[in-house]
Structure formats: structure tokens, C-alpha cells
Symmetry: C2
Subunit: 297 residues, 2 copies
């Protein structure tokens, strides 16, 4: 039986070490900007996107060291998105992972700039990794393209825009699913695809992993919606019920809690089904799909 | 005698056409996000960074079409930085280029997201250009690296952070110069370097163009400080005197107006001197250095 807990712990430790390594030039006297960037980056996330990226690349036998810069870049992009989403003009959240949000710990201008700098740093890390690996230059350009597409105006940012625009409004289940696929799903799918590309996957393998990523991307957000109702604040690091308070449409608010849970299970199953071509090698990703819907934070 | 006015007009038209081309998929029903991105992008900037990039590449005889995606990406990054700098939590400006700023024309959340999306789109455009040119993949990774470095926490964003932190405080001329080199100079220097790299410049040529970019980058900001005192609001598209109102340290506020003007001329001269190795081919860049300090907007 695959031990996901142990697997996650090892991966998270290595990802955290690689993220810390990014700042080694700034160790002695970090600027206030770098302090704010690191404050949010090191606030204790699950590192799900980097783990998915590494895990997808390992299905094809890639070396962790070769993929790690992309894993780090994904976490930089994710962290920037959290900082900006928490801003007063957006979701106006005071707590994230049990700590004051960036604009509370610093100030609003610093939080905006720390987010901008994290997003930019992601592409610096990716380009630097590609420059050092001339034989894989095209693969790294593909990775940059996938992350920029997943994070930008056709992906995550558009999803956040839809999320804010729909507050207090009635939207259909179809609209909600589209919103959630963009807001959360696009970067998660990109994380898996990036691992597949760097792992040297064939077109068929990349498509299979892409389908997996697409299903767990949506599953992750459905699970998030459920946690926002049923989760424990001490595990989540933020108050529960904030979606309802913001009058946000969520899966449970549109279909009820039971159907939302059934949809999460269905999506995790579809994700696992997409991995059949990999046989036993897909085991860690199958376990991650379960984890995405059964996590408590 | 080189006709800069005619040269600029042609370049600006081609850059604007290439920027419009970016949205051809969204023509029929642009999202609100894309509308906000285009609102700021098409508000009538000088396109100085793209022009510098194209112009630097032409010194080595590069084709404009090959460099244009990088030129566009630079303008996307520049436009994002203006939108975020204008936000209430930052400089809180209502007018930019004679039009309401993005957060005034739309709202604050939309402006934050439009900036985020423009920055991300810059890297999407760069990666897409590199993917289509497999023979130059490494050059495009270098370009992405240069732009990310120039725009990020070691460049423009750090400069903006210093700018905000120093409002109302006394800073030395040395500190001001460092701030301005980061806030404005870093992306301008990157623009020239990107052109040099894509033009296939030798290490010596890239260094010469880098020095040129470094000098005009600072010259541009010194000229901006002077325009904020002596400029005509109808040309600038914003009120004059805002630096003084914000208690911002500027070159003129630290050294007086005459010395600031002398410094701008000195920097433009140094920039031109750096181009000697190119002979007559450097003429457009020499004219641009003049333009940077003599422009009225």
C-alpha cells in the first residue's frame, strides 16, 4: 500500500528547501519586499502544486532535481495569487493559514508589490533553469507557456475576476463550474502538465496527465467549498463560513452538500481513471487525487 | 540628418498593430478583464521600451518581425506597472495620459487583476514566440530572464517599493539614484539588452548597448522629474507638481532644477558615447537618447 503521508512529507521538505534556496543571495539583509514575499511563501502551505508537478514527472522517470525549479515557480505563482486575492479590494481576508494575511502583516502597497514580485520571480526561476539546460530549452519554453496560460487572462486571473464579479449574484451550476475550473483548476492542471512535459512524456501521456489534472483541479475547489462549511477553523487557519458571508456561489450552495461531496468523489475517480495507461506507476497520483478531496485543510 | 519623428511614428504604428493583434481571439466578445487590460494598454503611450528594443536589435541587422513579440511583452510589463502604481494604496492617481486611471475607469479589484494579467501575458507572449523559433530557444529564455530580472524584486518592483517607502522622508542623492535606476532604469536597460540579445549581438556589443540602456534609463527618470515641475498638463495628460504634493524626493528637489537638467544631458551624452563601436548604425539610438531628455510628455 502506497504511503502518501510519508511521500508528501519528504516532497514538502525538499520543496521547502528548494524554495529557501531561492533567497540565498538575500540572506544577510533581506529587503522589506523580500521579507513580505517570504512571509507569505513560508506560511506553511501544502505545496500541492509543486508535489503534483514532481509526481507527474516521476511517472516518466524524470529526476527530481531537473523538475524542481518548475515546482518552485508554481508555488511562487500560487502564493502571489493568494496575496492578491486576500487584498481589501478583493476578498478582504485577514487570516490565511492561521497567520495575518500579507497586507495585514505588512501593508496594502507592500502586499500588492510582494505579489507582483512573486509572480515575476516565478518566470525568472523558470528562465534561469532553462538557460542552464540548453538541451531542454524548448521544453522550458513550453513550461513557461503552460504556466503563463494557466495563470493569466485565459486561466486563473479570469477565474478570480469571475469570482469577484459574481459575488451576491445568482449563477448557474455551469457558470460556477467554468469559474472554478479557471480560478483553481487551470493552475493545478498546468502543474501536472508541466511535470508531464519535463518528464519527457509522449503526446498520449501528456494528454492523460492533462485529463487527470483537469479533474483534480475542479475536485480541489469543490472540496474547498465543502471545507468552507464543514472544516475546522484550527485546521484551515481561517474562519469557516466565509463563502456564505461573502454571498459566494459554491458547489454546496447550488446543489446541496451531499451532491457536492458526490461530485468531488466522481471527479477524483475520473482523475484516477485517466491514469490507467501508467499502471502501477500512477499510484502516487491516484493517492493524491484521494487526498485532494479528503484533506482537512 | 536622421528623422527621429518619422522613425518613431512608423515604429509606434507597427508596435500598436502588433499589440492589437494579441487580442484577435477576443475581438468578438472581450471579457471585462480583457477590456480593462486593453483600456490601459491602448491609452496612448509613447511605446518607448518597445522602440528601444527594436532599435537596439536593428543595430545588428535583426528583422523587426523576429523581435516584435519581445517589444510587445515589454509594453505589457510597463503597462501593468503603471496600473498598479496608480492604485489608491500606491500613488493614488486619478489620471494617466489624460484619461481616468484603470481603477477609476473600472474598479480597484479589476485594476489589480488587469495588471496581474498583463504581467502574466507578457511571459505568455515571450514563451509563445520562443516555441515557434526552435533555433533561437536559448535566446528567448535569455530574454525572459532579462525581463523578469529587470521587472522583479531586484529591479522595478523593488524600485517602486523604495519609492513608496521614501515618501515624506529625506533620502540622499545616492539613495535617490539607486531608487530611480531600479524603478525606471532596470526595465529600460532590459529593453535595450533584449534587443541586443535577439539581434545576435556579441558580448562586446551587448555590453555597449547595456551601458547605453543603463544611462538612458536613469536619464528618463530625471527628465520625468523635471517634467513633473515644468511640463504642460495638457501634454503630460496628468497634473504637474504631483511629486511635490506627495513629498517625493526627486532629482530637482535634491539638487535644484538646473543641476538636474545638467545631469540629464550628461547621462544622454554618456549613453551616446557607449555606442561609438557601432559607428553610423548607432544614429537612431543616439537620437532616442536626446528624445528621452527633451520630450514634452
Amino acid at each position: 500500500m502506497f504511503d502518501l503521508k510519508a511521500y508528501l512529507k519528504v516532497k514538502q521538505q525538499r520543496i521547502n528547501a528548494a524554495l529557501e534556496e531561492l533567497w540565498h543571495d538575500h540572506e544577510s539583509s533581506p529587503t522589506l519586499l523580500v521579507q513580505a514575499m517570504r512571509y507569505s511563501l513560508e506560511a506553511g502551505g501544502k505545496r500541492l502544486r509543486p508535489v503534483l508537478c514532481l509526481c507527474a514527472s516521476e511517472v516518466m522517470g524524470a529526476s527530481e532535481a531537473d523538475v524542481m525549479p518548475a515546482a518552485c515557480a508554481l508555488e511562487l505563482v500560487h502564493t502571489y495569487s493568494l496575496i492578491h486575492d486576500d487584498l481589501p479590494a478583493m476578498d478582504d481576508d485577514d487570516l490565511r493559514r492561521g497567520k495575518p494575511t500579507c497586507h495585514k502583516a505588512f501593508d496594502e502597497a507592500t502586499a500588492i508589490l510582494a505579489g507582483d514580485a512573486l509572480l515575476t520571480a516565478a518566470f525568472e526561476v523558470l528562465a534561469a533553469a532553462g538557460r542552464c539546460r540548453p538541451g531542454s530549452a524548448l521544453k522550458w519554453l513550453e513550461v513557461i507557456y503552460l504556466i503563463a496560460r494557466g495563470a493569466g487572462y485565459s486561466g486563473m486571473v479570469e477565474g478570480q475576476m469571475m469570482d469577484i464579479s459574481s459575488e451576491g449574484k445568482t449563477i448557474t451550476l455551469e457558470e460556477l463550474e467554468r469559474l472554478q475550473r479557471l480560478k483553481t483548476g487551470a493552475l493545478i492542471e498546468a502543474s501536472v502538465r508541466v511535470g508531464a512535459v519535463l518528464g519527457g512524456g509522449s503526446a498520449q501521456q501528456i494528454a492523460a496527465l492533462g485529463a487527470y489534472g483537469r479533474h483534480i483541479g475542479l475536485a480541489f475547489q469543490v472540496a474547498d467549498d465543502i471545507l468552507n462549511i464543514e472544516g475546522k477553523p484550527e485546521m484551515l487557519g481561517k474562519p469557516v463560513g466565509s463563502d456564505a458571508a461573502h454571498q459566494k456561489a459554491t458547489r454546496p450552495s447550488l446543489t446541496g452538500l451531499d451532491q457536492a461531496k458526490a461530485r468531488a468523489v466522481q471527479l477524483a475517480d475520473k482523475a484516477s481513471d485517466a491514469l490507467r495507461i501508467f499502471g502501477n506507476k500512477g499510484e502516487p497520483l491516484v493517492a493524491l487525487a484521494r487526498y485532494v478531496i479528503e484533506r482537512n485543510r
